[in-house]
Every structure is written in C-alpha cells, then in structure tokens.
Amino acid sequence: MPHVISIDIGSTYTKGAVFGWQEGDKAFRLAARAVVPTTVNYLPDGYRQVMASLEELCRRSGEPFSETEASFADIPVYFSSSAKGGLNIAALGIVPALTLKAAKLTALSAGGRIDRVYAYKLTRRDVAALEANPPDIILLAGGTEGGNEVYVRHNGKMLSKSSVLAQRSVLVYAGNSVMAEEIEEMFAAKGFEVHIADNIMPEVDRTDTVKAREIIRSIFLDRIVKGRGLDTVVKEIGHNPNPTPYAVLRLVEAIYLKRPEMGEFMLIDMGGATTDVYSCCQPVKSIENVMFRGLPEPEVKRTVEGDLGMRVSALSTFKAAPYLAEIPGMAEFVEKVDRDTSHIGVSETEKSYDLALAGACSGEALRRHAGKLRRVFTAVGEAFVQEGKDLREIRTVIGSGGFLSRLHNFQIPDILKRGNTADNFLLVPERFRYARDKDYIFPLLGNLADNYPLLAVQTALDGLEYSENETVIPGVENIGRSSSRSGASCSCRDV
C-alpha cells in the first residue's frame, strides 16, 4: 500500500499524519497521526519529533508498506508552515474601494495577512510607523493601465527614501505599468529588493491578481524557509513548504471544483490569534433590480481577521463585539485568557464564555467577509445596490481549527441578527447546516490537494460531521428578490 506524509508546522503545534491508499480507493486511510509543541527557535527539531513518532506508530501497528517504501524516509512528504499566522503585508492603493481593495484581496488570496493599509498619499507619519515596525512585504498598487501616476510616484519616493526596505521589507509593485520602470529604478538604485507584477487593477471593473500572488507566495516561501532552519528540511525532502493558509485555500478550491454537488459553502478556521473565512459561491446572483457596485469579488474568497481569535486576540475580539460586555463575568474571563493564552476553559461557566467568544469571532468575521445590500428608490421604483459578495445561498458552513473542530452545534452569532436595518442588509447565509472538521485535518489535507486532489477532497468530506439542525439567520431571505420585483411592476407611479 503506498503512503504519503503531511506535516503542518503551526505557531503552537507541529502536526503530522501518514495516509495510505490503494488503487481504486476514493479516500485516504489515516494510518497514523502525531502532534508535538512547535520548537519555535529551531523548527526542524519539532518536525523530526513528529516524523519519529509517526514512524514509531506505523511500526507498532504493523502498517503494510509497499515495496518502494523500503524505509520510512522513502515516503513522500508534503509540509506547510504558518510562519506566525502568515506573512505581514502592508497594502497600498489609491482609492479605498478600488486599488486598495484590490491590493487587500491579492494579499489575502496569496495566503498573507494584512498588517496595515494606506490609501492615497503616504504621509511622513505613515512612513515612520512602517519604519518602527516593518512588514514582510509592502504591496504597492495604484492607477489603472495608463492611468494615475502621481500617487504611486509619491509613495514610491517616500518608501525608497525610508529605511523600511533596508530593515526587512520587500517591495512588490503591482500598479499602473507605465510607472513600473521608474519604481524599479527608484528602489534598485538604493539596492533594495523590488519585484514588479502585472497591474492588479488594469481597468476599473477588472482585477488581475495572478502574477502578484505568485510573487508574494515565492517571497513567502523564501521567508518561511530561511526563517528558523527550515532550509535543512527543504534540502532533505527536496521541495518547498506551503504557507498553511494557502494549503487550506487550495483544498477548499478543490472541493468546490471537484464536488459541485456540495453546492455553495464556506469554511471558518478559527484559531487563537486569527479567524480565517473562506467562501465558495457565485458572488453576484442575477436578480432583477440589484445593481452591483465596486470591484468584482472572487468566486473563491479568503479573508483573515487578525484581531479576532480565542486567546492571543481575545481582548481585541472583546472590543470588536461590544455585546460581549453584557455577559456577566465575560470581561474577567477575557482578561484571564489574555494573561494566560494557553488556558483551557474547564468549568461549565468558562466553557460558556468560550462559546460566546467563538460566536463573536465567527460572527464578526462572517460579517466582514459578507457583502451588503442597500435599498434605494429610483424613478422606476425600489431597487437594491449590492457591494461585496452575496453569501445568502450558502447552505453549508464548515468549522475548522482547534475550537470549532470540537464544537457540535453552531451558535447563531448575535452580531449577525443585529447587522440589519430597514434599508441595509448583510448578505450572510440565510440558513445552513454546520459541519465540523471533526479530526481537524483540513490543513494536513490541504498539503495534498495539489498532488492528490480527489483523495484529499473525499477524505476531507468524509471527516465532516453535520449538525442535526439547520441554523437560520432571519431577516435576509427575500430582500432584493420577490419584494423588488413587485416594486418594479408599479414603475410608472412617478410620471
């Protein structure tokens, strides 16, 4: 029986699994899995510990290896590293809803994490802040093809004169290509590392993020690998790691493409520090009287909320979800886990606090991921303007990460019910089944999604445990659909 190994080096734990399969199998068989605390100072130590215990487990259970697998070291290994929750990227654009938004989408879909964003012109204060705490990557965008040059030139000058790039940041330019040479010269003259990508917003209604994402990902790999000794691991097994969020994105994408019968779905991956949301759906449903505004949304979309999480980000979650303060004792609990981020809720009360915190993280992350619908009145009656992605028809929400993997039933986040007003509506799923990634295996399968897509997808789906009941988020069902149609039919009332 052939085997494959997947390892994920997270910020707290290094996890690994051995999968086996046979000709004709639809899914992997989990042969062994192991977890050790991540050896933060020298990552290969933790990696080797996991490999050793996987080997030991396989030996003890008498795992049947195939002829080509004479020794454990012959089994192919795929691995990922989260590099402290992803590379920090500072995104620069001109207009917040246009090139800046395109820059944010690009950074997130490359597996990065948005550190700071800047619209229009950088000020000296902005530059000082960047110098004080330089991000891994500065993504500089702005201007359509043949369009604006002024902002990018200004921002390029400010950055090339600063010490940000000398310290640690790498510049990726993905703006108006007319400025590419000038920018390249500006930075190369100082000996700074600069990469030129295609313009991520060639026209106002179109984005093109492929090249920029590729560049970001290769910088990412460079950083992860050079980081804390991983280059020795790379040398041993002969290929690079994936950034963990990128691996999960690939798996989610593969499920969406290979298993259309799943329908539209989303995944919430909640950790101690961040909450990642992935959605797979048609971004705009063709509905009469709904006009779409802004940048086109990707069909497979990832967002990362760096201020929402169960432990390291407990305090900022508490601030982002003001209703948590209404729960007696919640403030004290948040303080406690903030002081001791390894604290695990034991008593029933503490468990209920954790549940509330999880609801806030996922609810608030979902709210930020989802689009909005705004009611407007026109000469021909009522109509709606949509910005962002319409998630209403999503019927499955997958929960992953340490906490959600163990949670059997999803709590309706209060925050979502409170989001709607008479004329503004959140485009969140109307009703859905919650499915937990019960073995918390998505990140490990993500590493295998490129080379074994069908097996990885089926294994991921087999590992889902669906809740019995549907979760319903009331208030958004028919808005912009039937009601708008009736509005359109009495169109002549104004003339």
Binding site: G142, G146, V150
Partner: protein, 145 residues
C-alpha cells in the same frame, strides 16, 4: 461625438446612466459652445468611463454631468474615485438636472453630491449664464488658464 475647433477650454458633456432625456443636453451643448468652450458632447446614456475616456483623450478641464430621470445619486456615485484611479484627479466635476426624486431640499442634495466629489451641483432652474461664469472662474483657479 462632436468637437469643434475653438480655442476655449475643453469640457465633456453628457447625460449619465440609462437616462435618455435629450432636450436639455442639446440646449447645454449650444449654450456652452456659444460661450466659447470646446464642448465634447457625448449625448445621452453615457457611462462613467465614457466621460473619463473622452476627458483623458481631449485633456478636458471639466466634466458636466446631467441626470434627469431621478437615479442621479446612483449613477453619479463613484465617478470621482474612477477619475482618480484613471489619472485625472483634479478635473472639475459639475452635475445638474433632476438629481433626486420628489421635492428634496436643494441644500441637502448639494451636500450629498459634494460629498461624492462633485465641485458644483445645479438644479433645473440654475441660470446657465451664472454657470458659465463659475466654470471659467473655477478652471482659472484650478488650472491657471
């Protein structure tokens, strides 16, 4: 599209969105041409990008947007942001017509459109001679011409 070879500043004119009210547009074209402007008239049903395309190609100093059918707010929002990304941040934006449905206080409408980045906001009753004077003055102030 019609352009005439006059020496005055170039302006772009048109009725925005899917609005097809053509009479006012014809009047505006005549009045502004006679006042010495080089008017690039795009006619009715003009998209935001068509205004900007024309303005870039002709190095126009101002875009005059008309909206008569009541969807002005929806059609006009975002035009300034598009101008910025496409490199004409400092172009003057004028807007006029029946900008909103029903009787809404002018000051309120003006504030709304100014917030959207329009430099001046007019009603159907605005005196076009006044508008011409303002436009010359605004162009002089912004571009020194």
């Amino acid at each position: 599209m019609s352009t005439e070879n006059v020496s005055g500043p170039t302006i772009v004119l048109g009725v925005i969105g899917s609005d097809c009210h053509a009479v006012g547009n014809a009047i505006l074209y005549r009045v502004f041409s006679e006042a010495g402007f080089n008017v690039v008239n795009l006619g009715v049903m003009v998209s935001q990008d068509e205004y900007i395309d024309a303005a870039i190609e002709t190095n126009a100093k101002a875009i005059l947007v008309s909206s008569l059918y009541g969807q002005g707010e929806l059609d006009c929002e975002g035009l300034r942001e598009r101008c910025i990304e496409r490199g004409i941040d400092d172009i003057l934006l004028y807007v006029g017509g029946n900008l909103v449905i029903g009787k809404v206080d002018y000051a309120q409408t003006e504030a709304k459109f100014k917030k959207m980045g329009y430099d001046r906001v007019f009603t159907p009753e605005s005196d076009l001679n006044e508008v011409i004077k303002l436009l010359y003055a605004d162009i002089k102030e912004r571009f020194g011409e």
